[in-house]
Amino acid sequence: MRGLSKVPAAVFALALIAGTTFTGVKQSTAAESSGSKGTIALSLKTITNDDFQKALADAVKAKTESLGYTFLLVTAGEQTAVSTQVNQVEDLIARKVTGIVLNPMDGNAVVPVLGKARDAGIPVVIVDSPVAKGHDDLYITFVGTDNFNAGMQAGKQVVQALGNKGKVLVVRGANGSVAGDNRVDGFKKGLEGSGVMIVGEQPGNWTNSVAMQVTENMLQANKDVQGLFSASDVMLDGILEALSDANRKGVVIISVDGSHKAVDLLAAGEIYGTMAQFPQKIGSLAVEKLVSVLENKSATNSIPKVIDSGTMLYSKDNLDEAKKQMF
């Protein structure tokens, strides 16, 4: 009985696989055949619970399609899947995409695969997170926020808001995240030489539940805290809940990203400020430069190697502007 039932099961399995992969879950092949100029792929870590990456992806998609190309999204799926991203880019090369926009999960790990892309003649633009130094020949340009600078600006703002003295907590991103590390390092630099001290620093793992737990615990150890820096807007919900549960009011909270969630909180007076990033600008610019090289409208070496998309503080003083630019 067992042996016989396996054959139809196997056939069923194959049919299911073939069926599901063909009923509309594909992103691009249909469009590809109807006269698009080629496929531009975007490789990211994830867009789940990450407004920034999502806004970046949306911007890349919009610009790609407006220029007559097909858009393909590839995500590694988790915050830590470094080698998965490399495998996916290899697969993109095998698939012969026309161009690649890449947000590297690790600036070193993507170097070999970028070499393969170059050998295959596929131009690449890097966004958000830089590639390790010394490999300029492997990509056209890097477009992104200077995370260290954003953190540093945040630090300076906190010093100002606290009148040059006080104690702050830091909620970091996930261990091993370069962007997160850069922001916190920048924040510390911004505090240098001031009377503001960091009394607690723990990883919030980019998730609300973990951020809430570590903030709760840090508040237990520090009854007297005036400020708090969050490495990203995505952890603010949990952090605010922890603060409210512990009945701490008036804590100066500053974070990074400039998402609409943070701007809403800003308008409601719950946070002090957020260092804006401009993912729409990053995504759009990246595709623009990529396509201009693809269509031979610019020489690669006429494009600056680093395009800083900038940052600025959103606070209650510039809410209107924030609302216009937020993502």
Binding site: F12, L14, L16, I17, V82, E90, V111, A132, G176, V178
Partner: protein
């Protein structure tokens, strides 16, 4: 006999799936892509060699994720200091074997559940990998090391050859040595094996040390491929390795399972991901499909059979 039929059916299923993929998925059945798939699956495959043997003796090794990060970090830091490549690599492997021995010691002498000890060793290894370079990754290794991950020998990628070699070692140990016999016996019934006077503790030490060895090789290969050691590069490989074993028919109830089939399981997982990538399936759908396919493959092959009557 039932196992044999299962394995034959499994192979037929595999061939049929490959053929279907070749017809339906553009760019799949090219030499370049297929070699990529094997290369991409080699890490999981090498990990699965060690994991198979651990599962056969009713254990589990959750430390491989941490070791895939720690061992190359040790080697990598040494290499960047100018220490000769061979010595650096040996150092990394010793770290892996050392952690494996610790696991074996805890399990054999102190009766600590393998789940706990290997989980902890994995976390400690991960923590060490983070501390050793302050959470940053390292890269830019000597060319001869990077070639291990990216080079070819007589047209075959070195990664694939390494996978074959490790698989060969695993097959040799399990099928052609008395130790292998004892390992399978141990997975079947520990009390009987002890009564026969066999050094059970020694066996367990060996098995966990071997798994640590495999994890260290897998990690060193990964870092050669990426020319990087990223402190948390091991994370995706833990579940994939165990899944590869189970797909390949290694029984979680112990006593059964072949190294070669586990490696096949790793190749299946790698192929599925590759096919989904080539088809441009949306990332959200990929998750749904990977889950469905894993279940269907195991169901369809009926390889996983348990000798206990517990319906696990």
């Amino acid at each position: 006999m039932g196992q044999r039929v299962g394995r034959i059916l499994f192979s037929l299923l595999g061939v049929a799936a490959l053929a279907a993929a070749g017809l339906l998925v553009p760019h799949f059945l090219t030499a370049a892509n297929l070699l990529n798939v094997v290369r991409q699956s080699s890490i999981t495959g090498i990990g699965a060699v060690g994991m198979t043997i651990v599962i056969v003796i009713l254990g589990i090794d959750l430390s491989i994720a941490g070791l895939i990060a720690l061992c190359p970090m040790v080697s990598g830091l040494l290499m960047l200091q100018g220490v000769p490549i061979v010595i650096s690599i040996v150092a990394g492997i010793i770290a892996g074997i050392g952690m494996g021995l610790f696991n074996g010691l805890m399990v054999a002498k102190l009766d600590v559940p393998p789940f706990i000890t290997t989980l902890v060793v994995g976390q400690v290894s991960q923590g060490l990998a983070l501390i050793m370079n302050n959470g940053r990754s390292i890269g830019g290794f000597p060319a001869s090391y990077v070639d291990i991950g990216n080079g070819s020998f007589l047209g075959i990628p070195v990664s694939d050859l390494l996978l074959l070699a490790m698989m060969g070692i695993g097959i040799f140990i399990t099928q052609f040595t008395p130790t292998g016999n004892r390992i399978y016996a141990l997975g079947g019934n520990e009390t009987v094996v002890r009564q026969e006077g066999i050094n059970v503790d020694g066996l367990k030490l060996f098995v966990y040390a071997f798994s640590g060895f495999c994890a260290s090789v897998a990690g060193l290969l990964l870092s050669a491929q990426l020319d990087t050691v990223h402190p948390i590069q091991g994370d995706p490989y833990l579940l994939d390795t165990i899944a590869a074993c189970v797909i390949g028919g290694v029984s979680l109830a112990g006593g059964e399972g072949r190294v070669a089939m586990a490696v096949a399981g790793a190749l299946i997982i790698g192929s599925v991901r590759n096919v989904l990538d080539l088809l441009g399936v949306h990332p959200f759908f990929q998750n749904v499909l990977v889950g469905t396919i894993i279940i269907l493959v195991v169901f369809g092959s009926g390889l996983s059979r348990y000798r206990r009557t517990v319906p696990v």
